[in-house]
């Protein structure tokens, strides 16, 4: 039976979560309790609670999917699959686990499956060409004024540079470097997420950084000509 008191608190917190994706950091323990409550209810089949979980984690899942897969359409499909898997296996989630590490783990696995399924040896990252044709407008919105346009162009070039560098990486190295350098996890956390050892992750990160640096050098050399 759902206690009315718990439901009242849940509804209040849900309204807060509806208005913003990131809950206040100052109230961390309360957020964890709230999240655990949502997880418990969602595992019991409460879709409203699960929708709150999705709202709370959608940005992380979509962003990581986009970084792993390189385009919004695939990221959207992967995110749907991630949330379906989360719902399916929520009963196996242990409360003492880090929920978002678990979510990242599922996301990485789903993105790997996507990459294998679609037989894409080189991931399609957004390019300047796609920006010009307006195919990925949400990724690159060009401001109307000149200064803003210049900044947007530089940002787009940098994005293209990094996207190209990321495309050269194998899936495991890409996952490791995204989680370590972009998402900001520690090496041990990355190892836990990827179900690997710290030594392996360190090796993958080292290799990825070296390849990215090499790609940047080659890119700048080409631009200089």
């Amino acid at each position: 039976m759902r206690s009315p008191l718990a439901w009242g608190k849940l509804n209040v917190l849900s309204e807060v979560a509806l208005n913003r994706n990131d809950l206040p950091v100052s109230d961390l323990s309360e957020n964890q309790t709230w999240l655990q409550l949502l997880i418990t209810r969602a595992a019991a089949g409460d879709t409203d609670a699960f929708e709150q979980i999705m709202i709370h984690s959608q940005q992380k899942v979509m962003t990581l999917s986009w970084r792993m897969l390189g385009n919004e359409a695939d990221a959207r499909d992967a995110s749907q699959e991630v949330f379906l898997r989360i719902y399916k296996y929520l009963g196996r989630f242990k409360q003492e686990q880090d929920f978002f590490a678990w979510v990242y783990q599922i996301t990485v696995n789903v993105c790997r499956d996507f990459a294998k399924k679609r037989q894409r040896h080189t991931t399609q990252f957004p390019s300047l060409a796609s920006m010009d044709t307006g195919r990925d407008e949400s990724a690159f919105e060009v401001p109307a004024d000149q200064q803003g346009a210049d900044e947007a162009l530089i940002a787009a070039q940098q994005r293209e540079l990094i996207a190209g560098a990321m495309a050269t990486l194998p899936a495991k190295e890409r996952a490791a470097i995204v989680l370590r350098d972009i998402e900001g996890h520690t090496t041990d956390e990355v190892a836990r997420i990827l179900k690997s050892s710290s030594t392996t992750v360190r090796s993958q990160i080292s290799s990825a950084r070296r390849k990215i640096k090499l790609h940047c050098e080659q890119y700048l050399r080409r631009k200089a000509r």
């Binding site: 995110s79 994005r159 370590r180 090496t187 950084r209």
Partner: protein, 257 residues
């Protein structure tokens, strides 16, 4: 450390992924080596580019469409019965009853099997001894005096193990007369005997008896009747016998008519 060793560790050094001891050695080397210092700068710039390469800000409509798709899929899956549920549905309410009945039937079948296969001759051993008398030469027309084979008296502990019973049986053919010693109008039980002992008891002593095979049951408590049909159809010898005090000797206190 030389430049080659430092170069190997620089990717981890710039990301602060090295332990303090090694990091300190590389720092000391970089301060003195301009080439390695340049490499460090390049790694740092590349790392900054990676960190600054923020993913696109997805619109709320994109998030909402993802959520709606997921919820729709969850609802669809919850409404669609699974194959396992479909298969188990007819049995689900009565599954326990079905299992209980099956176990009960199996137990009954097992009990019946053991009871039916148990040798039931133990209690009949005393009451239903079957005597077979099968003089040789019956089938080939020789007389009892010519018979080289003595009478066979068959008792019964376990007839299934005894092949001799079948070897005697063909002697019943050929118009032979059967002599029956019956108890309580019981029919002769050809299937009972299991042990055989060869003897030449009273059937062989009957004068003028035809070569015959006779079977009889011996009662240990009630009077026994023994009929012997001679070759002459008008002559039949009937013996009445009291139950023997000793089960092994039915001749005591018997008399013939």
């Amino acid at each position: 450390m030389n430049c080659k060793q430092v170069e190997e560790l620089l990717p981890l050094y710039v990301g602060h992924d090295l332990e303090d001891g090694r990091a300190g050695m590389i720092t000391a080397h970089v301060q003195t080596c301009t080439h390695c210092a340049g490499s460090v700068e390049e790694y740092v710039e590349a790392g900054q580019l990676v960190q600054q390469s923020a993913a696109p800000q997805f619109s709320e409509a994109t998030y909402a469409s993802v959520r709606q798709s997921v919820l729709h899929e969850i609802k669809r899956e919850s409404e669609t019965p699974r194959l396992r549920d479909l298969l188990l549905r007819p049995f689900q309410p009565r599954l326990m009853w079905a299992v209980s009945t099956a176990v009960l039937l199996a137990a009954c079948a097992l009990a019946y099997y053991f009871v039916a296969s148990r040798p039931n001759v133990l209690h009949d051993q005393k009451a239903n001894a079957v005597i077979k008398l099968a003089p040789d030469g019956a089938a080939d027309g020789r007389g009892p005096e010519q018979s080289s084979s003595p009478a066979v008296i068959a008792g019964s502990p376990d007839h299934r193990l005894n092949p001799l019973h079948k070897t005697v049986k063909p002697n019943l053919a050929g118009g032979l007369h059967s002599l029956t010693m019956a108890k309580n109008s019981r029919k002769p039980r050809l299937s009972q005997p299991s042990w055989h002992s060869r003897t030449q008891d009273e059937p062989a002593a009957v004068p003028g008896a035809v070569p015959a095979t006779f079977e009889t049951s011996i009662s240990s408590r009630k009077p026994m009747r023994l009929e012997i049909q001679t070759r002459d159809p008008n002559i039949r010898i009937i013996w009445f016998s009291q139950p023997p005090a000793n089960e092994g000797s039915p001749n005591e206190s018997s008399k013939g008519i």
